[in-house]
């Protein structure tokens, strides 16, 4: 009777009300068969990590268009490690310059997805990351 589903937290950190992208990705992942928890707007890194822990997610996807990604995204990663949740796959998206994306990917983010990424690519990336990497 065992049935496992990939669980994903889609989060909006900080002062940023632009959630169309987050909702599009959340819906696409749902249609792919994942269980997607949407955090709602204006969450702090602490709140997002608390939600990830209570919901036992495999993946956190953060959407940020406010420009404060180099502040908030590394904080989420630090708190995750502090809580012993480093197994959670971190991905991000939004308006993030390539240089910053590269730095985030060096600092614990599995991938930063830019504008125009097909949702299927995000879903496939998550499935591969959660499923195969040991």
């Amino acid at each position: 009777m065992a049935e496992r589903r990939i669980r994903v937290l889609i989060g909006k950190p900080g002062l940023d009300g632009h959630d169309r992208g987050a909702k599009v990705v959340a819906t696409a992942l749902r249609d792919r068969g994942m269980e997607v928890i949407y955090s709602g707007l204006h969450r702090t890194p602490e709140q997002l990590v608390q939600a990830a822990e209570q919901e036992d997610v495999d993946v956190i996807g953060l959407s940020i268009l406010s420009g404060s990604h180099m502040e908030l995204l590394p904080q989420v990663r630090r708190l995750l490690v502090q809580r012993g949740l480093e197994h959670v796959v971190l991905v991000g998206g939004g308006i993030i310059p390539p240089a910053d994306a590269a730095e985030l990917e060096k600092g614990g983010y599995a991938r930063i997805f830019g504008p125009g990424t097909p949702t299927q690519a995000i879903a496939e990336f998550i499935e591969e990351k959660v499923g195969i990497e040991a």
Partner: protein
């Protein structure tokens, strides 16, 4: 989608999970709930160990049609309980897609962040094909929250129609949440949802004539068997914070009454018995359907043009006569109508 192997995530041993759980680690609680949801092999040994600690919490269920404001109401109530320093957990069930199996779980969106910051535990759960308003693992998840030490466990169902009443069997108190637009007196007289309430709340009282619906419900209650306790009918506006204090008070009164009268014990005993029955049903169905290849046999029989009820009856009949429990069935197999769901004589296990 291809189900992932989840190799990346290391699963703890049941012993390690238990130790962390007993030490109060939230991560262990949430992993145990995942184990229950996923039918993990070790979840039963964990629950065996925790069983003596289960039964202290009070479980309150909230059900009602989609859009009645259940989430907003429950979130407001969680805030009240947290404010009273009652340790509180919320289990919020949302529907799984019948097409993709995925789910969008949005109950955290409405959560007042101030409440979450007070240590309330919130878990979103997808219904995963269950049709009664809860998920198959909802009750087990409540057991885990109970064993973890929460005093108040609130359970919010999927938005339901008229007949999805699993919640009433799964909780100590059931609240049916309606809105002023929820229908007239005939709706109120129908069987199902309207019968399971220990308390009615007409939410969104700021939007319409809540008193009119309250009157309809009271009129329905006048016609009911007076030996059963009469459920209070309250109106409130969760959004505006109106009527919440009265709701908390009414729920506390029901709890005291049911504790003292023995109603709680009776309800919990019935709950335990129905869980045994359900577990037997689920396990048997799964074994037969999947492991015994009945799905294939049924497909074949249907393709041969047989009537569905007859297919089911023949499968059960053959299984029964071949000695399902490792010994030949006694003579004179029950002559049951073809629509009967299964062998009625449960024999020893051989």
């Amino acid at each position: 989608m291809v189900l992932a192997t989840f190799a990346r995530r290391l699963e703890p041993t049941p012993e390690a999970l238990l130790e962390a759980f007993r030490g109060g680690a939230v991560g262990a609680l949430s992993r145990a709930i995942s184990w229950a949801e996923n039918g993990h092999d070790d979840v039963d040994s964990v629950l065996d160990a925790l069983f003596p600690a289960i039964g202290q919490a009070w479980r309150t269920g909230f059900t009602g049609p989609p859009g009645a404001g259940k989430s907003t109401l429950v979130d407001a109530l969680v805030g009240r309980y947290a404010g009273d320093r009652r340790s509180t957990a919320l289990l919020a069930v949302d529907p799984s897609s019948p097409f993709s199996g995925g789910a969008l779980l949005g109950d955290r969106i409405r959560m007042n962040q101030r409440v979450l910051d007070q240590g309330v535990f919130v878990r979103s759960m997808a219904s995963r094909g269950s049709l009664g308003g809860l998920a198959r693992a909802s009750e087990t998840a409540c057991d885990l929250l109970d064993a973890f030490g929460f005093q108040e466990i609130l359970v919010e169902t999927v938005g339901v129609g008229q007949a999805e009443v699993d919640i009433a069997a799964a909780t100590d108190t059931t609240v049916v949440v309606l809105t002023p637009a929820s229908g007239d007196g005939i709706q109120a007289m129908k069987a199902g949802l309207m019968e399971v309430a220990d308390l009615y709340v007409i939410n969104k009282a700021d939007l319409g004539p809540a008193a009119a619906l309250a009157g309809e419900i009271e009129a329905m209650l006048d016609l009911r068997d007076p030996s059963r306790p009469r459920p209070p009918v309250l109106t409130c506006s969760a959004l505006k914070g109106k009527g919440l204090a009265e709701l908390v008070e009414a729920l506390d009164r029901i709890r005291l009454r049911d504790r003292d009268s023995g109603a709680m014990q009776g309800r919990r005993q019935r709950r335990a018995l129905s869980r045994v029955r359900r577990r037997i049903g689920e396990t048997l169905r799964h074994r037969l359907w999947t492991e015994h290849g009945w799905e294939q046999l049924a497909r074949q029989a249907l393709a041969d043009g047989k009537r569905p009820d007859r297919v089911a009856f023949d499968l059960l009949q053959n299984w029964w006569e071949s000695g399902p429990f490792g010994q030949p069935a006694p003579a004179n197999p029950a002559q049951k109508p073809a629509s009967s769901p299964g062998p009625s004589r449960k024999q020893g296990n051989g």
